[in-house]
């Protein structure tokens, strides 16, 4: 049974939310919860086109009414035509509706500058965690001794870059302890918002090939690239462009999801709903479609919001002594480092907590802000971090930064 180290934080947050509901007095009116990457919970609006199409698929009478734009109705009609019995309530084929799988494959080919994608290699699942879990089931031999290992990233220091030397070191450390079969990378990074360069990715691919590791590329944040000089390249593309023999031999599974990026549809999982969300994500309205102006406005708004949030977080945190924050190029989170005074670390020890958890508990109690302690993401020993979601409305971000600043200044004073 896996125990979450910070259940105490989650429990206290729920308690406080309940106390606030019951109008108990606190120095804040509501908790700002940036723990998970959950934009809608934070107040970001869903994309209208997506929701309109989904609504029409759920209640097909809307297809014939004038309530919804024409392209919405046409898209819903097409999608319903691909569902058995014309209903999203029937069972889907194991790998997903063939037509949608085809369109996803086309999206991938286009994204990757023409590198071909085969629909037979695409599987749709209720959320990326499910798919990842199942691939791991296939890779892991539960009877084996020593146990199967998967190389997993912990955020690095130097600009969060992935250094191949570190991969070698990790692999060496496994000798005798476990048998590594796979290498998991996440790009853009979670929690550290680094976007890998082509050079880095080529090194990773060569490493995976040399050591015969199955490459698991988690690319769910591929839509979230806000760094001006950053460009998202998929592992598939880089691998394909490296040509044979690597492109024919390296085993690669890449993951994408409707939970992240503009869609932010974390709760929409399962069955046709998932398929429809993926279809809309990979085949959005185009210029000329009636829904395009609104769609483009809404996605632009989200992009602007992210760029703004990233800038503000960087500015504010780096102006606070005790915080250092690297520039975020992509992904949905900020992962600033805390430089805690020794007295605070001592206090945390007395309370039998990791120092970053201690910081987060205090932040929650006194300022009503919920963020994740960095210890869960496994950074280097002796370093402390917090992680929080940056996919929020600008005023929420501002409010959070304001509360965090006041709290932090006081905290540093208290433990000086």
């Amino acid at each position: 049974m896996k125990k979450l180290d910070n259940t105490v934080l989650a429990r206290r947050a729920n308690q406080i939310k309940e106390e606030l509901r019951q109008k108990l007095r606190k120095p804040y009116k509501q908790v700002i919860d940036l723990y998970w990457g959950d934009p809608h919970a934070a107040g970001v609006k869903p994309l209208s086109f997506v929701r309109q199409v989904l609504a029409a698929c759920l209640y097909p009478d809307l297809v014939n009414s004038n309530t919804l734009p024409v392209d919405v109705r046409q898209r819903a009609q097409r999608l319903l035509g691909e569902c058995a019995g014309g209903s999203v309530g029937s069972y889907t084929a194991t790998a997903g509706i063939p037509e949608i799988v085809h369109r996803i494959s086309e999206f991938i080919t286009k994204r990757d500058g023409g590198a071909p994608s085969d629909p037979e290699n695409i599987y749709i699942s209720p959320g990326s965690q499910w798919a990842l879990r199942n691939i791991l089931k296939v890779l892991v031999n539960s009877q084996a001794s020593p146990r199967t290992g998967v190389l997993t990233p912990g955020p690095e220091e130097q600009g969060w870059e992935l250094h191949v030397e570190e991969l070698h070191r990790a692999l060496d450390s496994a000798k005798g302890l476990c048998n590594p079969v796979a290498l998991y990378v996440i790009n853009p990074g979670n929690p550290a918002g680094y976007v890998q360069s082509r050079k880095t990715m080529q090194e990773v691919i060569r490493f995976a090939s040399e050591k015969r590791l199955f490459l698991l590329a988690d690319e769910v944040y591929q839509e979230c690239v806000h760094g001006e000089k950053s460009e998202f390249l998929s592992y598939k593309r880089v691998l394909s462009e490296m040509g044979p023999p690597l492109s024919d031999t390296v085993e690669l599974a890449s993951f994408h999801s409707a939970s992240k990026g503009f869609m932010g549809e974390c709760g929409l999982r399962g069955g046709y709903v998932e398929l429809i969300a993926l279809d809309l994500m990979t085949d959005p309205p185009q210029p000329g479609d009636p829904s395009y102006p609104l769609y483009s406005e809404e996605t632009q708004h989200i992009k602007t919001m992210m760029v703004h949030n990233v800038k503000r977080v960087f500015e504010v945190l780096n102006s606070l002594p005790g915080f250092s924050c690297k520039p975020m190029e992509g992904g949905g989170f900020a992962f600033p480092r805390l430089h805690l005074p020794p007295k605070a670390i001592q206090k945390a020890k007395e309370m039998e907590m990791e120092p970053d958890l201690f910081y987060c508990m205090r932040l929650l109690e006194e300022a009503g802000v919920l963020v994740k302690p960095g210890m869960e993401n496994g950074p280097k020993e002796g370093t402390h971090h917090i992680r929080f979601c940056i996919m929020n409305p600008e005023d929420t971000m501002e409010e959070m930064l304001s509360r965090l600043s006041s709290f932090h200044t006081q905290f540093m004073k208290d433990f000086s």
């Binding site: 979450l4 809608h40 989904l54 209903s87 089931k137 709760g267």
Partner: protein, 444 residues
């Protein structure tokens, strides 16, 4: 060499014609390949919408408004649907179905609605929201419990008493969870009834080779259509109590009891009406889902279980089993509507009750007609069904066919189904998937 060769692969080949083959049949036919049919009819799974049944309007109207809240002001949707959507959006984070569900076990408001439904159904027997866990489909929900049973130490593997025939997905699930299937035969000649002696016999077979911890039963029966009376349910409960087995009651078709004079009783209700000696002791987990006959929302993936008398530590584990993930939101809202439908004073009641009546009538008439028709054919014998969405007739196949199947390396009922698919474009399920072995060939 591929890393995949290192892994545990349980490659169980699908024996019956796959959905892919069925789809290919339709495709080939559409492309003008010479076939005596235009389109494949797939009735092998319990999938009403695939077969052409319509969803419940109220459910879809509420879901549409939840997904696209501008519809809350849309006059063409009934007022009560819009009000319900508004209420349900209120229990979603950020008033959006796109946000994560706040708990790993289900939206508390939905859990509460489920308990209210259970109490109404069971004539007042109490139900506690803390005993409810919601997940994405009954397969997932059942797996959570099955995985739990396979955990822990022991020399012999955990066994689950399983009815033969059983739902066709169950043998795979048990295998996935690392559990041993301990078969108990249902009595075909008595309409697939459960027999106490047979339960005892099955239990005796486990001695020395597995450790029985649970008994699974589906009521109404999948695929048999048998509905247990109170006496039968009590027998099973007493058996579980005496032998210290956890009772897993799959009741997804509880809304489709159509047999004349047949009463629909839940295991929970019967248990509690047996008095404290049983009601405080027997560990019972009951399952229900959106795949029910009248809802038919198999693709929406939503189900719940109610677990009573489990150790609090175990219950906590069940509630945390999906952490750090959480069940999807939209199906939970559909579940809420399923357990809390329009009442007579509501504007949508008329349409709602008509649609339910239509579903039930269709089921009942189909069951009767199909059973009569099949019994008129030589070589097929069908027990009458009283509930559920399947019929499970027995095939009396000519010896040459059985021989041919043996030579081709398939079960005879699989061969029958393959031929039927190729020649008539009808896809049925082969009885061997439900655990029925040679020479008892069946189709589903």
């Amino acid at each position: 060499m591929s890393s995949l060769q290192e892994g545990d692969l349980d490659l169980r080949g699908t024996r019956a014609p796959s959905r892919l083959q069925a789809a290919r049949g339709t495709e080939e036919s559409a492309q003008g390949a010479e076939k005596p049919f235009q389109e494949v009819m797939d009735v092998s799974t319990g999938d009403p919408h695939r077969a052409g049944m319509k969803p419940v309007s109220f459910v879809r109207q509420v879901l549409a408004a939840c997904v696209y809240p501008k519809l809350l002001d849309e006059k063409s949707l009934p007022l009560d649907a819009r009000q319900r959507a508004n209420t349900l959006l209120g229990v979603c984070s950020g008033r959006s179905v796109g946000s994560y569900c706040a708990t790993a076990y289900g939206i508390p408001y939905v859990c509460k609605s489920v308990t209210e439904f259970i109490m109404r159904r069971d004539g007042g027997v109490s139900s506690n929201p803390e005993d409810i866990v919601i997940s994405s489909g009954s397969t997932k929900t059942l797996l959570i419990v099955l995985h739990l049973m396979a955990s822990g130490e022991g020399e012999t593997p955990t066994g689950v008493l399983t009815p033969m025939p059983c739902p066709h997905t169950l043998p795979t699930l048990l295998n996935m969870a690392g559990l041993t299937l301990v078969p108990y035969q249902l009595l075909e000649d008595q309409g697939w009834a459960v027999e106490l002696d047979e339960l005892h016999r099955a239990l005796r077979t486990t001695r020395g080779h597995c450790s029985p911890r649970a008994i699974y039963i589906s009521n109404p029966g999948n695929p048999t259509g048998h509905v247990q009376d109170r006496k039968s349910i009590e027998e099973v409960i007493r058996f579980a109590a005496t032998e210290g087995l956890v009772l897993l009651a799959d009741e997804v078709y509880q809304d489709s009891v159509y047999g004349q004079g047949t009463e629909s009783l839940s295991y929970k209700r019967v248990l509690f009406e047996m008095g404290k000696e049983y009601s405080k002791k027997v560990e019972l987990v009951s399952f229900h889902s959106l795949s029910s006959a009248c809802m038919g929302e198999c693709g929406l993936r939503g189900a719940y279980m109610e677990a009573v008398n489990l150790d609090p530590v175990v219950m906590k584990y069940l509630r945390d089993a999906q952490a750090p993930s959480s069940p999807p939101v939209l199906p939970q809202l559909a579940l809420e509507v399923m357990v809390n439908p329009p009442t007579p004073e509501d504007p949508s009641y008329k349409t709602y009750s008509q649609e339910i009546l239509h579903s039930m009538t269709t089921l009942s008439q189909n069951a009767q007609r199909a059973c009569e028709f099949l019994n008129d054919l030589s070589g097929i014998k069908c027990q009458p069904a009283r509930g559920g969405v399947f019929l499970f007739p027995r095939l009396h196949l000519p010896p040459q066919m059985v021989e041919e199947a043996k030579m081709l390396g398939v079960e005879a009922d699989v061969l029958y189904c393959q031929r039927l698919l190729e020649e008539e474009g009808v896809r049925l399920g082969a009885g061997c998937e439900n655990g029925q072995v040679d020479p008892n060939f069946h189709i589903r």
